[in-house]
């Protein structure tokens, strides 16, 4: 048995040696000469944006190499929090959405980058969301917002007019019902619309569009009309029931891409996916377009106005543990990704940059993209509100509202009862006034 102890001791010793060699390279590089920065990314083989930006920057700044470190896409924040807590975070890391921005900023895990923000044009959207007390802590480079996708072939088949950009949600509901009836008559199995089972599909619009809606006020009644419409669509059979969406693990890509639904509210990130899937055969070949998201009422509806929608800007921040000698290079990279050059390179791979107005032409040169006027309008013109307010209570409120979402849509409780329950819980946990 002495042998086993010896083996163990050896294993421990080896582990120490190995860890010493294999550990991170440390951050004590010389101030001048080539600099290497690490950047957190995810799903590198299908998310080309990180490499595109890193290579693009390196081409103009040959001294600086950006090394992309891969994280898990769905557990990005869990892994990042663990790494930062252990002091092993990357030099540059992405704020996937605003929900966790407060955590990182409040935990002093983001460097003040106000000087970078000053040099950016006004057309870069979402910058103000990453500012706290007049200081900027991350620079947005992606600016997705929610629009409405529609299948022109199915509209033609049903003999229903295409959307004209003037819709409110009531128009959306009635058109969906009409489409469902007429498509059934035309012997098609497709339904009028598909709303994915994410809580943002309902709550994002409700918060962004309803005048005076405020998550932290403790009054969630602004959600009611949005849920009533979703329930009405489910009941009318114009939309798949949420129980079937979850139990059958329906994907929005297949629902719209395989022509199961004629309309679908979804973020602009889906444009690149749909184009790629139509090329690869994953999705059917059909003509489609995008329209502005349906509106709360007529005051913001129509192509002469600015439609209100939602979407979190994706931003990049700097880890304050970064070596002092690298700060200038890191800030230069932030300036690059939000600037015109960065935006152009993102638009070329189908990604909506934060400065989407500056590159709309590049974007609509993509192969297969709809180029009608309404699609262009929907892409370029919108007042995009953040999905969530930046506050300490946001993640907890989000979880409560998610419970409200699943219980209402599954028909377990009435809208009113669920709202009252969520309000009480939020209050008892001290999350709202």
């Amino acid at each position: 048995m002495k042998r086993s102890i010896a083996v163990l001791g050896a294993a421990a010793a080896i582990s120490l040696v190995l860890a010493g060699c294999g550990g991170s390279s440390g951050s004590s590089e010389a101030a001048s000469g080539p600099i290497t920065l690490t950047l957190a990314g995810w799903s590198l083989s299908t998310t080309p944006e990180f490499k595109t930006l890193a290579d693009g920057f390196h081409a103009t700044n040959p001294d600086v190499t950006i090394q992309v470190k891969e994280y898990d896409a769905t557990n990005y924040d869990t892994q990042m929090i663990a790494d930062l807590a252990a002091g092993k975070g990357p030099d540059l890391y992405v704020q996937k959405n605003l929900k966790n921005f407060f955590t990182y900023q409040d935990g002093k895990q983001l460097l003040d980058v106000s000087d970078v923000a000053k040099g950016l044009p006004d057309t870069v959207k979402g910058l103000s969301n990453y500012q706290i007390d007049g200081k900027t802590y991350a620079i947005p480079y992606r600016g997705d917002s929610w629009v409405m996708y529609y299948n022109q072939a199915l509209f033609d088949k049903a003999g229903v007019d295409y959307p004209d950009g003037s819709w409110t949600w009531d128009d959306y509901v009635s058109t969906s019902k009409e489409l469902t009836t007429k498509l059934k008559a035309a012997k098609s199995k497709a339904l009028g619309d598909y709303q994915h089972n994410w809580q943002s599909t309902t709550q994002g619009f409700a918060l962004a569009q309803t005048p005076g809606a405020d998550m932290q006020s403790g009054n969630f009644s602004y959600l009611k009309p949005y849920y009533e419409r979703s329930l009405a669509l489910q009941k009318a059979g114009a939309q798949v029931k949420i129980g079937d969406v979850t139990t059958n693990s329906l994907t929005y890509q297949a629902q719209f891409g395989k022509q199961q639904a004629a309309m679908m509210p979804m973020g602009t990130w889906y444009i690149a996916t749909l184009l790629a899937q139509q090329t690869s055969g994953e999705a059917d070949q059909f003509k489609w377009g995008i329209a502005p998201a349906p509106q709360f009422d007529a005051t913001t509806a129509g192509t002469s106005k600015t439609p209100v929608t939602f979407g979190d800007p994706t931003a990049l921040g700097i880890n304050p543990k970064l070596d002092k000698s690298k700060v200038t290079a890191a800030k230069a990279f932030l300036g690059y990704i939000a600037g015109k050059q960065g935006a152009e390179s993102l638009a070329k791979i189908g990604i909506t940059p934060a400065d989407s107005e500056a590159v709309a032409d590049t974007f609509f040169e993509l192969k297969g993209i709809p180029t009608d006027d309404l699609s262009k309008f929907a892409f370029a013109t919108h007042d995009t509100k953040p999905e969530n307010p930046v506050a300490k209570s946001t993640p907890a409120l989000q979880n409560l509202l998610n419970e409200l979402h699943t219980s209402v849509l599954s028909g377990s409780v009435t809208v009113d009862a669920a709202i009252t329950k969520a309000q009480d819980q939020a209050k008892s946990q001290g999350l709202t006034k």
Binding site: S43, D72, T251
Partner: protein, 296 residues
């Protein structure tokens, strides 16, 4: 194994002979038993059937309304594609390496410690054992951050050592082996002690051979747990070259987020090695004692 040559005197070895029922076969009962088992097992295997049939479908046919239980046309392409689209070979190799090392350490240190807990009396033993069991009762999610910080101070994160350290010394193995050692009569050990065998000798020459079914169970369960562990590698491993099969499959899911046919192909491939090991090894759980030659 050496037991055969020098059985300690007057030890009722046949006490631990396996049960060998030799009732007269009842034809009807036999048939009914098979029918019951058949129904039960087909229900049990249904999800696995679905996994296999999905892996043979076109991707967008996997989730449909209503459900398609068999592919319209069998697509073998997924089994070719997955090797090109993923690092399946690396993942399998890493997982195999980790599983073998972890299982080896767990079985060795676990059974060793279990002997101390079960058959050696010393002060503080029971308290320490309770502390072992108590840690099983603590949910891992709650101490994984302190543990992660500790591991990174020890520079173990993003190395295989982190997973080995995490899995190889679990209280589970100690507990399992202790329970089995307690079924082995103390007389047997006392007799060996009187014969002048020391404790290490007793462990090696009496306990180990007698506990083959338990060792086999522990080996298999540790192997399966390490093989299927997802949260551990997720938290500790970052480098693509270190990915295990579960982590690889999961990144594959996030990367090709809607390619369910391929994901199911990966799942089938990830289950197969364990299934084969089980099929080959299952007789040791039941025939273990007989095969060590303790015929009495």
């Amino acid at each position: 194994m050496t037991m055969l040559e020098t059985p300690p005197a007057e030890v009722p070895l046949n006490l631990v002979k396996p049960r060998r029922p030799d009732r007269t076969p009842n034809r009807v009962g036999q048939v009914l038993r098979y029918i019951a088992l058949g129904i039960l097992i087909s229900a049990v295997l249904l999800p696995f059937y679905w996994m296999v049939s999905s892996s043979l479908k076109m991707n967008n046919d996997v989730f449909t309304i209503p459900v398609k239980w068999y592919p319209d046309t069998v697509v073998w392409g997924n089994y070719v594609d997955i090797w090109q689209k993923s690092e399946m070979t690396t993942w399998l190799r890493n997982t195999l390496l980790l599983s073998v090392v972890v299982t080896f350490l767990q079985v060795l240190t676990g059974s060793f410690a279990a002997y101390g807990f079960a058959k050696v009396r010393f002060p503080g033993r029971d308290v320490l054992f309770l502390a072992y069991i108590a840690t099983i009762a603590v949910p891992w999610q709650s101490y994984m951050i302190p543990q992660f910080v500790l591991f990174s101070k020890l520079k173990l994160t993003d190395t295989f050592w982190s997973i080995i350290a995490l899995q190889a010394f679990s209280a589970f193995g100690v507990f399992l082996m202790k329970q089995f050692y307690e079924t082995i009569p103390d007389d047997l050990i006392d007799a060996a002690r009187i014969d002048g065998m020391n404790e290490y000798g007793i462990y090696r020459r009496i306990m180990l051979p007698l506990s083959v079914p338990a060792l086999a169970s522990l080996t298999l369960l540790t192997l399966v747990n390490t093989w299927n562990d997802y949260l551990g590698p997720l938290l500790y491993l970052r480098s693509p070259g270190l990915r295990t099969i579960q982590l690889g499959l999961k990144t594959f899911v996030s990367t090709y987020n809607a390619e369910y046919a391929l994901i199911m192909t990966g799942s089938v491939l990830s289950v197969l090695p364990i299934a084969v090991i089980f099929l080959l090894g299952q007789r040791y759980f039941v025939e273990g004692i007989a095969t060590t030659g303790l015929k009495g």
